[in-house]
């Protein structure tokens, strides 16, 4: 146990001092904050009203989880770079020579990725609370916490992105090849593959499952709800208009996603155990 603590300490020394790590984290946080700051200022073109409602309680959690998911790919790329650097500098080899086991190499990287997923969660939570307080007309306990668990799904989603990135980095070793194939896998490789399968199967593909964890909020319904008080009509929604595809529930998607994380882990472990470093 003491040994694993030391391994984690060395992992954080090299990660936190890597200039690329700081750059990507700052970029990730800045892009997210920029988007969620600008978005509420836009007027909806049809409803002629602002999108502030999307960042008020309780809708802010679904909105921020969805927006946050756009930038998960950056965390996935960061995971690739952190693993790819070890290959590039041949430091996996050096660490094994110094007494780190192959399993410890893998666990240490996974702890870094869990920490990054926690960071993404904290970013969404803090921003959600701040924006929710600013944009909500009234604040209630249930208004704040009812939909908050949606944010924790983003934690699993970002971890899944990074686990998949790590798997690619172990397969291809090179940062450039891993990043390109990783992005291509999200689009268009998996979507093309899905086209060959029926709907009942294609919704279980990894990218589809991971993306479904943070679905596009039905912003039309959210915004038009506030109009009911004005004209008494039933709220319109993207779902009722058939613009949002039927997909698995968030709970089922989460469970399947956790299953994929386990698959990514075992596939990576298989490579790490057999590789000549």
């Amino acid at each position: 146990m003491n040994s694993m603590k030391k391994i984690l300490k060395l992992e954080f020394i090299k990660t936190l001092n890597y200039p690329g790590f700081k750059t990507i984290i700052i970029l990730h946080a800045a892009l997210f904050v920029l988007v969620v700051t600008i978005a509420p200022q836009f007027k909806h073109p049809m409803l002629k009203m602002g999108l502030e409602k999307l960042v008020s309680f309780p809708y802010v959690w679904a909105t921020f989880s969805w927006v946050g998911s756009w930038f998960n790919i950056l965390l996935g790329i960061l995971a690739i770079i952190l693993v790819g650097n070890e290959h590039q500098f041949r430091m996996f080899r050096k660490q094994i020579l110094d007494g780190v086991s192959r399993s410890q190499l893998l666990y240490a990287k996974m702890v870094v990725m869990l920490t990054l997923a926690l960071y993404a969660l904290a970013l969404i939570l803090l921003s959600g609370i701040v924006f929710g307080i600013i944009y909500s007309e009234s604040i209630s306990f249930s208004g704040i916490f009812d939909k908050m668990p949606l944010v924790f799904v983003l934690f699993i989603q970002s971890f899944a992105y990074m686990m998949l990135g790590m798997l690619f980095a172990f397969i291809f070793k090179s940062n450039a090849i891993s990043i390109v194939t990783y992005i291509l896998f999200f689009f268009p490789v998996e979507p093309i593959l899905r086209a060959f399968f029926p709907d009942s199967i294609d919704k279980f593909f990894p990218v589809k499952i991971i993306s479904n964890l943070t679905p596009l909020p039905d912003f039309l319904e959210i915004v038009s709800k506030s109009m009911i008080q004005v004209n008494g009509k039933a709220p319109a929604s993207l779902h009722s208009m058939g613009l949002l595809p039927d997909s698995l529930s968030v709970l089922v998607s989460t469970l399947v996603c956790i299953g994929y994380i386990v698959v990514f882990y075992y596939a990576t472990k298989l490579i790490v155990d057999r590789r000549n470093f």
Binding site: N2, S3, K6, I7, K9, L10, I13, K14, N17, Y18, P19, N85, F89, R90, M91, R93, K94, Q95, I96, L97, D98, G99, V100, S101, Q104, R274, N276, F277
Partner: protein
């Protein structure tokens, strides 16, 4: 004497290439062993297997009576090929990573940096070092935690003559402290100056092993010229003190056993009724004997 490393018939196959072929040897506590062989003879692959960075295709090995992998590696200071460090970290942090991996104290870092003359550069980033300094840092990292065994692969790579002498002194000092040292090199001189014992590899196989002094001694060689070289050749084949090495421009190259002098050979030939036109003592270097062993003939 306690066996530190036991290697039992290890092989490593890369596609159609057999890099290591059923290699067996053992190293005892306090031994200083050189692993000698030309490029591509399997030295680095052998060391990589016993240090668990690559997996053997077959065979087995164990350190310290049954240990292998990370548990054994924490007790071994090792340097394989070129020095590997994080280029963006300074020397102190790079060595901190080694210390943490090995479970050693971080307070050992100034000592080892001082030992290799890099203490003043402890805050410099690794990428700012010269090749020689990088090699010295790699030596320093092997000394972290004062391990009982050192495994060094071409430790003087990239060093200038002064640096080579310094590294050699460091290794010799470690040997004097009673450490077990395994050092691979393709340079005979390097091994001969540091290691009393040697394992000679060729195409992944052990072709000779034992004391350097016994395997590669500077034996007397003579060049003999005679009117009838064929009779001379037949006659020399009957002398157990002589070993025919070959011909050079119509003359015979002959190795003499210890304590058998060129004049004794001349007397013996005369007693056999053979007169020689020329009998010239030649110096046969360790290098030429080594090259002969690994199959590269060299003009003497």
């Amino acid at each position: 004497m306690e066996t530190i490393l036991n290697v039992n018939s290890i092989s490593k196959v890369f596609g159609s290439i057999t890099a290591v072929d059923r290699l067996s040897f053992s190293v005892h506590r306090g031994d200083v062993v050189g692993v000698l062989g030309p490029n591509g003879s399997g030295k680095t692959t052998t060391l990589s297997i016993i240090l668990s960075v690559i997996n053997a295709s077959s065979g087995d090995f164990s350190w310290f009576n049954g240990l292998k992998g990370e548990v054994a590696n924490r007790r071994i200071g090792s340097l394989l090929e070129v020095p590997y460090f994080y280029p963006y970290l300074n020397l102190e942090r790079n060595l901190m990573i080694t210390a943490l991996a090995r479970g050693a104290g971080e307070n050992d870092i100034p000592r080892v940096l001082d030992e290799v003359g890099l203490l003043k550069r402890s805050k410099s980033a690794f990428y700012t070092l010269s090749l020689g300094m990088k090699q010295r840092l790699a030596i320093a990292s092997t000394l972290i935690g004062d391990p009982e065994v050192l495994v060094l692969d071409e430790p003087t790579n990239g060093l200038d003559p002064e640096g080579i002498a310094e590294v050699r002194d460091i290794i010799k000092n470690q040997a004097l402290k009673g450490k077990t040292i395994i050092m691979a090199s393709h340079i005979l001189d390097e091994v001969e100056k540091v290691c009393p014992n040697v394992i000679i590899l060729k195409k992944g196989k052990c072709i000779a092993s034992g004391k350097v002094a016994e395997l590669l001694s500077e034996k007397q060689v003579v060049l003999i010229e005679s009117d009838d070289i064929e009779i001379l050749t037949i006659q020399l084949g009957q002398n157990s003190n002589c070993k025919l090495l070959g011909r050079e421009n119509g003359k015979l190259l002959v190795e003499l056993k210890d304590n058998y002098s060129p004049s004794a050979l001349n007397n013996w030939l005369f007693s056999c009724g053979i007169s020689v036109n020329r009998l010239e003592p030649r110096h046969r270097t360790l290098e030429s004997q080594f090259l002969e062993l690994v199959g590269k003939p060299e003009n003497i």
